[in-house]
């Protein structure tokens, strides 16, 4: 394996390993903004470790689906992580899949989560699954369009090449089309990752849950894997935002200086995005459930405008 290949592989592993740290950072930032002390940055690791060591209790009415869900969810999300450029503008699975593959790799876990919610036959799981499907049916088109807007800039849907193009652009990377697409992707990220104002990750109210309702029946290692996958999904979305929409950053070559710089910039951008998520979650209340399609409709329109604007710039429509 070349050094570039090793670095690409390593960054994906690092993304998986450090995703809980990002989740911890957001939690900590939110606590600070609310005048609370908040947990340690590494608290998510402790929570995962705790869940992993616990016994798995499965409902008597559940089938093999409930047992398979955690592995499919974690596997699908982890595979998606290998398509995402982070510190280096290259991905280990680059030749095998592009932005469209990424969207569908993220759809597989969602489908199985919803199945898992229905599987045990509890009322909450069913409610969670139906709400999740309602949300994702409007989130996915917006996600696609936002990614296409960035793909037009690079002329390819290969995520590594898209990140490379963005890194090369520098100042020229600030254009209205990309800004609109970034805004759309940010809104989609909040919805897809079950953050406020779409879903409240900290709620204890069964009746209001979306993501949490689907995994109420999960326990032990399965729960740990699903939670880890959830943190990873957020990390993937924020990394996409950082590399495809914020100029500079991803290293173009695999020498140590560029890699170090790329990693540092990536961490810096992720921290900035974590602050943005924490600010949104502090400043707004959760939307009424039936307002969520409006919220995602906004994301869709933003993404559509981004695409049009890119079209005007590129092709001179």
């Amino acid at each position: 394996m070349t050094r570039a290949g090793a670095a690409a592989f390593g960054q994906s592993l690092a993304l998986i390993a450090l995703a809980p740290l990002l989740a911890g950072l957001i939690k900590r930032l939110k606590a600070t903004l609310q005048n609370r002390r908040g947990p340690d940055l590494i608290q998510p690791y402790r929570d995962l470790w705790k869940a992993m060591r616990k016994e798995t209790v499965v409902s008597e009415t559940a089938s093999w689906v409930t047992l398979a869900v955690p592995y499919v969810v974690f596997g699908g999300t982890a595979a998606a992580a290998f398509l995402v450029p982070a510190a280096l503008a290259d991905t280990p699975l680059g030749p095998a899949g592009d932005a469209i593959a990424l969207v569908y790799l993220l759809a597989v876990p969602r489908f199985f989560l919803a199945l898992g919610g229905l599987d045990a036959g509890s009322a909450f799981g069913g409610m969670g699954s139906s709400r999740e499907m309602m949300i994702s049916s409007s989130a996915e088109p917006a996600l696609m369009l936002a990614l296409f807007a960035a793909a037009l800039e690079a002329g390819t849907t290969n995520l590594g090449a898209m990140a490379r193009r963005m890194a090369e652009l520098g100042w020229a990377g600030f254009n209205p089309g990309l800004a609109l697409a970034a805004a759309a992707l940010f809104l989609v990220a909040l919805a897809e990752c079950g953050r406020l104002p779409v879903d409240n990750p900290a709620t204890h109210l069964e009746l209001t849950m979306v993501h949490e309702a689907m995994i109420l029946e999960q326990s032990g290692r399965g729960l740990g894997l699903i939670e880890w996958a959830g943190m990873l999904k957020l990390a993937i979305f924020l990394t996409l935002l950082a590399d495809l929409f914020l100029p500079w950053g991803a290293a173009l070559g695999a020498d140590w200086t560029q890699l170090g710089l790329g990693a540092a910039l990536c961490v810096l951008k992720l921290c900035a995005l974590a602050v943005a998520v924490a600010l949104v979650e502090t400043a707004t209340a959760k939307l009424r459930l039936f307002r969520v399609p409006d919220f995602l409709g906004t994301a869709f329109v933003l993404a559509l405008l981004a695409l049009l604007s890119q079209g005007v710039v590129r092709i001179g429509l």
């Binding site: 939110k30 903004l33 609310q34 005048n35 609370r36 009322a123 909450f124 409610m127 709400r131 406020l196 104002p197 409240n200 900290a202 709620t203 204890h204 109210l205 069964e206 009746l207 209001t208 109420l216 502090t282 400043a283 707004t284 209340a285 959760k286 939307l287 009424r288 459930l289 039936f290 307002r291």
Partner: protein, 499 residues
């Protein structure tokens, strides 16, 4: 308190007259087991009329133990009668819902705990009750969602049965009783101090209002007036309690709409109030202050001054909180139009407290039947017409501000003098009622003396008992994920309801 004894047959007529002429509302129904004295159960319908309470009582003869139900005249009567049926075995003719209310299936059929001859050992041998039947809702696409009694968060237990079509709620039925402790039975044979300890534990965060109503029942029964200083201190305690309860409610609403920032600010203010309350008599929830005859803990001049300046400071912090919540559009969007409770329903079902006032029902014992020193420290009643979550929140906002103002005024009016002391024991058979406007609404304590200063019967009306049936009406047509918010805006007490 005027009591009119009528026969069972004339009960409805007398009640109708009170309703039409008063106009009076039914406040509570008290039953006593008087089989040893007059071979009957006596049922007392207590009405709140302008400026006074009126009681109509009827003796229900033992064979058959049956009386006509007043549910047609006062829908709220159905609730009280349902309770008497399971605790005394008194049946009511024409009652719309003869199912059990607080006692569950494990409680045997035919065992009536508030009868004087009730024996736990004998009851254990009786057969178990048949399963409780929820009202079925059928139709294409209608689902039932059972929730609780154990919830995901640390809250009191209660079971909710939703019938839904998709997300909209068609019907909600609440089944409570999980924290029934038999407090009214425990009070029988207790002396005043033990009864006081029970009263303070009926509904933990409303401990002061409950102990106040309890003490006033003793004082009325003994014909004692508390000293002026004690009466004023009781106003201070009542309003401090309202302040911390309303802050907790506002924090709960902010939490439930997913706005933890606002919730944290409200909880911070509440914590300060609780600490200040603890500085008074050592208890954060103001327990141990009230006693029959007055208050046990005096406030010296220094602490009174500190309390007044604290409350002023707290009102400033509250103004900031109110502005923050009012300016958060995403929060206001959630509360406006959600959980609308029609005024008619609130009136018919005997709703009290902020929940009723937010639906335009202008009731407040502090003004209507003033106790303690409320006659000299009048507090304007906060009423809103909308009946939604926003209105309930707005009523609590207003009440907090007026409570803070009242505390400052009361502390300013604090005259030198005694705080009260022991009061004479009432004669056996003497009866008295005490009342207080707790943060959740009207609290009533009806007390009858037994021999040697013991309690023969203590009937407690907690506001949550009459307000719980309002909730299913408020959530009709709303969607399932909005239920916790509507529930929180009422913030009813499970323990107070179940007793």
């Amino acid at each position: 308190m005027a009591e009119t004894r009528v026969s069972c047959a004339r009960l409805a007529q007398a009640a109708r007259r009170l309703r039409d002429e008063g106009p009076c509302r039914l406040a509570t129904v008290v039953a006593t087991d008087d089989r040893s004295a007059e071979a009957a159960f006596v049922v007392r319908y207590v009405f709140a009329c302008p400026g006074r309470f009126e009681t109509i009582s009827a003796a229900v003869p033992i064979p058959g133990a049956c009386c006509p139900s007043l549910a047609q005249l006062f829908p709220v009567a159905a609730l009280f009668e349902r309770e008497l049926r399971e605790f005394f075995g008194v049946r009511f003719e024409g009652h719309p819902d003869p199912r059990r209310l607080l006692l569950h299936e494990l409680w045997p059929e035919g065992a009536f705990p508030l009868r004087k001859d009730f024996k736990p050992e004998a009851a254990a041998a009786l057969p178990a009750a048949p399963p409780y039947a929820f009202v079925p809702v059928e139709g294409e696409g209608v689902f039932e969602i059972p929730v609780g009694p154990v919830h995901a968060g640390i809250i009191e237990p209660g079971h909710f049965r939703f019938s839904v079509a998709g997300e909209p709620i068609i019907r909600l039925e609440a089944r409570l009783g999980y924290v029934h402790r038999g407090i009214e039975k425990l009070a029988e044979g207790a002396r005043a101090p033990q009864g006081l300890r029970l009263a303070e534990r009926v509904s933990g965060d409303n401990a002061f209002a409950h102990s106040l109503a309890y003490c006033q029942a003793w004082e009325r029964l003994a014909g004692v007036e508390v000293p002026r200083r004690a009466a004023v201190l009781r106003v201070v305690g009542s309003e401090l309690e309202r302040m911390h309860c309303h802050l907790a409610d506002i924090a709960g609403i902010a939490t439930d709409v997913g706005f933890p920032f606002g919730a944290m600010q409200a909880l911070r203010l509440r914590e300060l109030v609780l600490r200040r309350a603890a500085a008074w008599c050592g208890d954060r929830f103001l327990k141990g202050i009230n006693a029959p005859g007055g208050v046990r803990c005096d406030l010296d001049a220094v602490r009174a001054r500190e309390l007044a300046s604290f409350v002023k400071e707290s009102a400033r912090g509250f103004a900031e909180l109110k502005r923050l919540l009012g300016e958060t559009d995403s929060l206001m969007d959630r509360v406006e139009g959600t959980g609308e409770l029609p005024r008619r329903v609130a009136e018919d079902l005997g709703g009290v407290g902020p929940a009723a006032r937010a639906s335009g029902v202008d009731l407040d014992l502090r003004r209507d039947l003033p106790y303690a020193a409320y006659a000299d420290i009048p507090i304007p009643v906060a009423v809103r017409p909308e009946g939604d979550v926003g209105a309930r929140m707005a009523v609590k906002f207003e009440e907090f501000e007026r409570s803070a103002d009242a505390v400052v005024r009361a502390l300013g009016a604090l005259s030198e003098g005694p705080c009260g002391g022991p009061i004479p024991e009432g004669a056996p058979g003497a009866e008295g009622m005490g009342w207080a406007e707790s943060p959740r609404g009207e609290v009533l304590y009806w007390l009858r003396m037994g021999p040697e200063g013991t309690i023969a019967r203590l009937k407690i009306k907690d506001p949550s008992f009459v307000n719980w049936p309002l909730l299913p009406w408020a959530v009709r047509g709303d969607i399932v994920p909005d239920f916790p918010l509507v529930n929180k805006s009422f913030n009813l007490s499970y323990a107070g309801n179940d007793r």
